[in-house]
Symmetry: C2
Subunit: 573 residues, 2 copies
């Protein structure tokens, strides 16, 4: 491809977007933002996306059948799983104007995920245990009604995704496929994409589907959205959302001080409180009133922690968990919001206390009286020590892995895939069963396996760059070679054109910057675009006997003889 | 691929769907209907679709840059072209439930076409005449809010489409690309898809964009939705919607009869009228009152014709044309709907009369008086003959091409592509101009070029089949070879497996029906699926010295020696 024929040029002065990947990819002419979270893939970006999807497709073809499901489907499919009203990222498609509604006023779901489509589909084609196991996948555009989408390709309202679904006669068979078929296939994908070495598997929440963990493939990346907690002795990564944690020991007072109620008008946040009382947050207790399904409960963590609602939900074994409203708080505590504590509570309320509070002495908590906090509370003396403490704090840096008491190592990372044991959640909704060897109806076990292909493009752009621009892994670079000539000498152009053709004929993908423009601009654009091999033909290079060759990932250039150039380039691919 | 591993089996007893392609493709396991006009592509269908899109992509890559635009975009893009409220197939995407709307209550257009996206995109990257011409294209899912979608893959609510857009500095340059670049590329596509010989170019309406024709690529097909009118001497096909036409001469009475008003209560349709008066429809005049933009006009054709509103609109040079409402008809004619005629009309009304009426004698028309029709009307005696007659009848079989007076040959056909000179319609809306050689701002000329890739799959299924099933052109068949063994003899299975591997290694795509099932069922499924080459290994074929080879398109099978089979198969591809 000649640069002069390429649609969508670099724009070095483009504005800064909300994320590094969006800024870099737009400056380099890979994508164009249509609106927040929605992009056009320009030719360079489209080539990268196509290469990512080709690799994903080749590996998925080994473990499943490719199909292609529709984006719009009847709403009743989503009603059957009770998700039509609850999935808060769901879009629907409706007639856009009066004329359209007059033609057809039906409404359709615009899928954010395809369990509701694939389950009834699979049901149509599998009946007996002999038809199992099997897996189908697709690569497709998905839609999510994101309120703010500020992470470039890493979080889109419309994005590309590969989703695979597997179907099994037992949980064992599901887990066998999950760990021994799908997981290695995913690892192969990331290896081929050039991010294998930096991609780890992290345990994450199983959501409503399973008590087990789901698994995320996370690429370590300084600007990633996720925090991983690594246990070295076990070689296990936890996503922060599920990391079990123990607070490191903090030295406590020797003596018990006198308990005291302190008047502080409007002191309702931890930030205000520590300032007002002039004590550290770890001397305080944060008490929150929750509605867990239909029941009201009290949960408390040490003041320097947040409550991890995923962990708390698991402990409470409830479906819905939300902070109680003002009226409920008042009813339970007798006070306005901001003064709840674990003392002076009604006898009949269930109180859950995080184990970070257990070793505390002379601690603070709300008095359950508006404008009052109590300090110097001590276990036994001022409040009965509960039989059981829990772990529902949001793990943070410095925390220990409870089982081994070793300190976590913390990584930031970006999710590039996730796999999920769905068990019988969706087959139950669609009454999807099979007949076993004894002629009995049994529920089908399912797993789902996602890879956001456009997200991966964003993650790699986010991760693989320097101050001059993008640095693409060879496997997904838009072209292999960025060729340019310096100077408008006819002879130089002729030699460049000859090499351009030779590279082409050798199936090496080459972008030739054929513009009559300054060398500096060509070099800057080449760095910005980030194609792995740069070849420069100039008077100087010819005098030195050939072509200047430089890898984008390195700083030094070499002169390579014209006759050897194909071989040299091929060695780099 | 082994048949036992293939998801989505044949279903010979599946119900009949609304179209032949939907029925055949579902019986053969290529697609699965999710709802009217919305399908899942099963592995076989997905392979066919992918092959069609690969061919389209390869040819389009020669004439444009591939990009990928989003399906959802801000509504203001469609407001700028004044199409948000008028395009009656348009969908919008909105939050599907309360929770979703709470997150983000914005609405987006779900594109049915991408002029509104590509025009502002192109504007960002082209400024000077030096940046032109250029073309970009994409292959993508599109959405149309069809009220009834009863033609299988030939008319979808969600469908796959390739759309290319070209950009030019002049109409001449646009037309040069249109006829000399895009048209040959399209012809190459259809040739490679195996429908080149049956695909013709037909002139069609230019819609609101241009006074010129647009061009449709139409594949001749008995069950097609379109009717083409062919002028042999000119070698030109017209879509019925724009075919100029002259009614063939019908012998008229010698004598003028006495004019007479006939009372006929409630005789308001041509069908009732001809029965009531016992005269043929070609002795009658059909008179309709229209609202053309803000003006009311009268239009009349001979009773056996329909009015072609596309042609009438062109003659009237109006933007909107619709039948007048009851009140307006009453005001103009003084009668209820159904009794309008070209006599007794107010002087100030414009009357347009089709040339089919010119030679008529003793003809009927409405009296413009409720329950009355007038018969034996004659030009000159009862009504002034107008200076000018028009051609706005819908052409029908037997009609003549006015220029040469030759009778049209009629074909039914299915559209497989269309190209459209958009001229400056969209660049005007987006104020998209370029700077010419003299530094002046000039409007950009655009063309658009569509191919419905899923539609093509439907058209080929509709066209290429016999009583036993589908017959795929080799280029887009899901596999090249349908291999099967007859009998569960170990030796036969071993030989079949060996051939399966050899075919595979020779890059021949093979589907092996490895089921332990009856020969009859295997043969029937092979015919239904329609893969071009069938290879059968059985005791009988081995005794005869090899493999039975049969082409799906032929009836006779041959025995081919095992050593020659690869060569024989390759010759068929």
């Amino acid at each position: 491809m000649k640069y002069s024929q390429l649609f969508g040029k670099t724009n070095k002065t483009a504005k800064e977007y909300d994320s590094k990947n969006a800024t870099l990819l737009q400056k380099a002419g890979f994508i164009d933002q249509v609106m927040s979270g929605v992009y056009t893939y320009l030719p360079l970006g489209n080539r990268v996306l196509a290469k990512i999807e080709k690799i994903v497709r080749e590996e998925m073809d080994k473990i499943g059948n490719e199909i292609f499901m529709p984006a719009i489907v009847p709403t009743d499919l989503w009603e059957q799983t009770d998700r039509l009203d609850s999935v808060d990222v769901l879009f629907k498609a409706v007639g856009a104007n009066k004329a359209s509604k007059l033609r057809n006023d039906a409404e359709y779901v615009l899928n954010s995920t395809h369990e509701e489509v694939v389950t009834p589909l699979a049901k149509k084609f599998s009946f007996s245990y002999k038809d199992f196991p099997f897996a189908v996948y697709q690569i497709q555009s998905k839609f999510r009604n994101e309120p703010r989408a500020k992470s470039g390709l890493m979080r889109g309202r419309e994005f590309r995704m590969k989703d695979l679904y597997s179907f099994h006669t037992s949980e064992d068979d599901l887990l066998d496929y999950y760990f021994n078929v799908a997981t290695p296939a995913y690892e192969k994908v990331y290896k081929r994409l050039g991010i294998g070495e930096d991609t780890v598997i992290a345990l994450a929440s199983g959501g409503d589907f399973t008590k087990e963990y789901s698994h995320e493939f996370q690429t370590l990346c300084e600007t990633g959205e996720d925090t991983l907690f690594y246990v070295k002795s076990k070689d296990v990564y936890y996503n922060q959302e599920v990391a079990p944690s123990k607070a490191p020991i903090i030295e406590q007072d020797q003596e018990e001080k006198e308990i005291q109620d302190v008047f502080g008008e409007g002191v309702v946040s931890m930030e205000k409180l520590v300032k007002f009382l002039d004590i550290p947050a770890y001397k305080c207790v944060k008490t929150l009133i929750y509605k867990a399904d239909e029941k009201v409960i009290v949960a408390a963590v040490r003041g320097d922690y947040e409550i991890n609602e995923i962990k708390l939900k698991e402990i409470l074994n409830c479906k819905h968990l939300e902070l109680a409203d003002k009226e409920t708080v008042k009813k339970i505590t007798g006070a306005e919001i901001g003064y709840a504590g674990i003392i002076n509570l009604p006898d009949d309320i269930d109180i859950y206390i995080d184990d970070s509070i257990e070793p505390m002495k002379n601690f603070e908590c709300g008095t359950n009286k508006t404008n009052f906090h109590t300090i110097n509370i001590n276990w036994g003396r001022d409040i009965d020590k509960p039989d059981k403490f829990y772990d529902f704090k949001l793990a943070k840096e410095g925390d220990l892995y409870p089982e081994t008491d070793e300190e976590y190592k913390i990584y930031t990372a970006a999710e590039v895939g996730n796999i999920f044991p769905l068990n019988t959640k969706f087959s139950d909704s669609f009454e999807y069963t099979f007949t076993d060897e004894n002629g009995d109806e049994q529920p089908v076990y399912m797993g789902c396996y996602g890879i956001g292909t456009s997200r991966i493009m964003g993650v790699i752009a986010e991760k693989s760059n320097d101050e001059n621009g993008l640095i693409w892994p060879t496997q997904i670079a838009p072209y292999h070679v960025h060729l340019m000539h310096i100077g408008e000498d006819d002879q130089i152009i002729k030699i460049t054109e000859k090499l351009y053709k030779e590279l082409h004929e050798s199936k090496i993908e080459v972008l030739w910057d054929d513009r009559d423009t300054q060398a500096g601009e060509k070099f800057a654009d080449a760095d910005l675009i980030g194609i792995p091999v740069r070849l420069v033909i100039s008077k100087r290079s010819l005098e030195k006997g050939g072509v200047e060759m430089k890898l984008r990932s390195e700083t030094e250039a070499d002169i390579v003889k014209m006759d050897d150039i194909l071989k040299h380039v091929q060695n780099c691919l």
